[in-house]
Amino acid sequence: MAEGLRLENLAITLDGQTMMALDARVAPGEVLTVMGPSGSGKSTLLAAITGALDPAFRLSGRVLLDGEDVTHLPTERRRIGILFQDELLFPHLSVGGNLAFGLPPSMRGRAARRARIDAALTEIGLEGFANRDPATLSGGQKARVALMRSLLAEPRALLLDEPFSRLDAARRGQIRELVFARAKAQRLPVLLVTHDREDASAAGGGVIELGA
């Protein structure tokens, strides 16, 4: 059984020109860091893995999750979570509403869902924040909510698109640790895209450099 995230001979081309090529495996609970300057195709890679690649690009190779080929599944059926440097909390929903958006509908009952959300908030040190407006949170608090929203959706892998680069130095290490610890605890394969060496070494896994 091939567990984890497998990127099998992935290559992305635009008008016949290869934008990037990659062959890699990320085991559950491990972090693979992809580094490279802007324009090296990092965000294109993430788009390909999530299934949001612009139709102008051509993708060859396969994306496998725990052995299942998800290359042609729509984003919503892949169960791959993604965190950006902007937390992208939905501004019209409360903090609790954001988490509820991530919580699968298979968890039934108003009270049960509510209880799960309250517990999730407690886990990230934001007890009682359910009714807050996300715009009133600090950067670190937003990052934690975004992480928890992704985790509640029960993903099979987690992609990180420079998620720490907006945070100040003090928060940064804290949030980074939290993300990696949670991913490890849930045995999620993690793909981290960054241009920060410190992120890479904190991740502790393999590092792949993309050329410009």
């Binding site: 299934g51 919503e76 993604i82 409360s94 958006f101 699968p104 959706a153 993903p155």
Partner: protein, 560 residues
Amino acid sequence: MSLLRRAPALTLLVMLGPVFAGLAGTLLPAFGILPALGRVEPGLMPFSELAAWPGLPRAVALSLGTGLGATLLALALTVLICAGWQGTRSFRWLERALSPLLSVPHAAAAFGLAFLIAPSGWIARALAPLLGWERPPDLLILQDPWGLSLTAGLVVKEMPFLLLMTLAALPALRPGQSLATARSLGYGRSAGWLKTVFPRLYPQIRLPVYAVLAFSMSVVDVAMILGPNTPPTLAVQVLRWMNDPDLALRLRGAAGALLQLALTLAALGIWRLGEIAVARMGRAWIETGARGSHDAPVRALAIGAGALSALAILLGLVALGVWSVAAFWGFPAMLPDAFTAKSWMKQGPQLLAPAGDTALIALIATGVALALVLACLEAEHRFGLRPSARALWLLYLPLIVPQIAFLPGLQILALVSGIDGTLAAVIAAHVIFVLPYVFLSLADPYRGWDRRNALVGHALGASAARVFWRLRLPMLLRPVLTAAAVGCAVSVGQFLPTLLLGGGRVQTLTTEAVALASGGARRVIGVTALAQTAAAFLPFALALLVPALVWRNRKGLRHG
């Protein structure tokens, strides 16, 4: 899914189908074919009858003159205001006044202006003590034979529209940078703006300008209120023929409608030639390197004219308001002897039914248009469709083809198929004109939405439909409601589609108001025109209020 993919095609059909059907319906009778009257032999008789009408040369000249004049003035004012004042405090004040000015229906604005400039209007009353007038001066200001008051009415109403379209196009051109560069080279503000920003701006506002030109040449309601009577503009005369109890006159009317179309095309051609000439002169002017550093008089003129034009509409509304509550009001007095609610008590109940129909038509037409526009934009998003420049032309087509050219044909088709005089026919006709405005209003905010929100939603397991209903629509509540308000205001202001497709049996506040044009019942006009304005204004107020209430606890959406 497949239904959504067909949304753009369906939208075009709903919007342009009636335009072409209507043109065909005008074409046949213009060449003598009207089976309902037993005319089946094609011929040029309608055209020779039209040519024999003694008022024709004057009516044609009026249409061309007022249309070209009003467009030129409105555009020149818009451009000079932007050139001289963009980025200043006065400019922001004007920007804020824009939306209320735009929402005032044409007919109400025209009545308001009439109440100001008539021989017994507020301006004459203000001058009376100075000039020793005891009675209203014997001047033919309103409905003057030259169409000057008509032109003025068109300018004050079309300038805000052009200004709005300009403001929408400007940010992408980064005018601040260009202007700063030009000024650092020693150019005056206006000259620098005209030389560096305007040449890039004009292609962006060309279609709105064409729409203003076509509209100004063929407008009916404003021309009935402010335009001359003997002869009137061609469009008004065509309407008279079309509404004549003598059905045979419809053939002549159809020929006139076709002539109106040809005139519009000719005017657009003239305008295009003018564009080329101005571009050539402009290039030469830019190459002279003239700095134009003393532009204070031009700037003063521009802001003065702009403020005057805004004031004309606002004071006009005040005049309507005062007349609607006036008891006896003798000539030189600035205010009535006393105020009374009598006119409202008397007219109010009679306006309830038209107000209800106005609201019903506006809501359904806007609802249909909004659904189609949202489906188009969502299809664009989901299927990665790229809108072409041609698509924009198609969108403007119903605004450029004169209403009077195709609505009579549509009326004849409705008559033949037996749906004339129904609310459904009127609503369908309103959708033709509501759709482009709703689309223009919503497209930019819709396309500007951060697509990563959709990606995050999908990554959390949400389907495309769930992302649309739960994320995109709520986050875009404000622009969606604004687009709906624009749609409602457009529908409320429609005169010709209501009159022709309604066959006189569907009455709205606008048809009621315009019907008063020939009489002198000022108090009734005041009440009706104000009710019409309120009907157009209310949706805008709601579009501001509802998001502010719904999102009162959501800081992230307060300025979205």
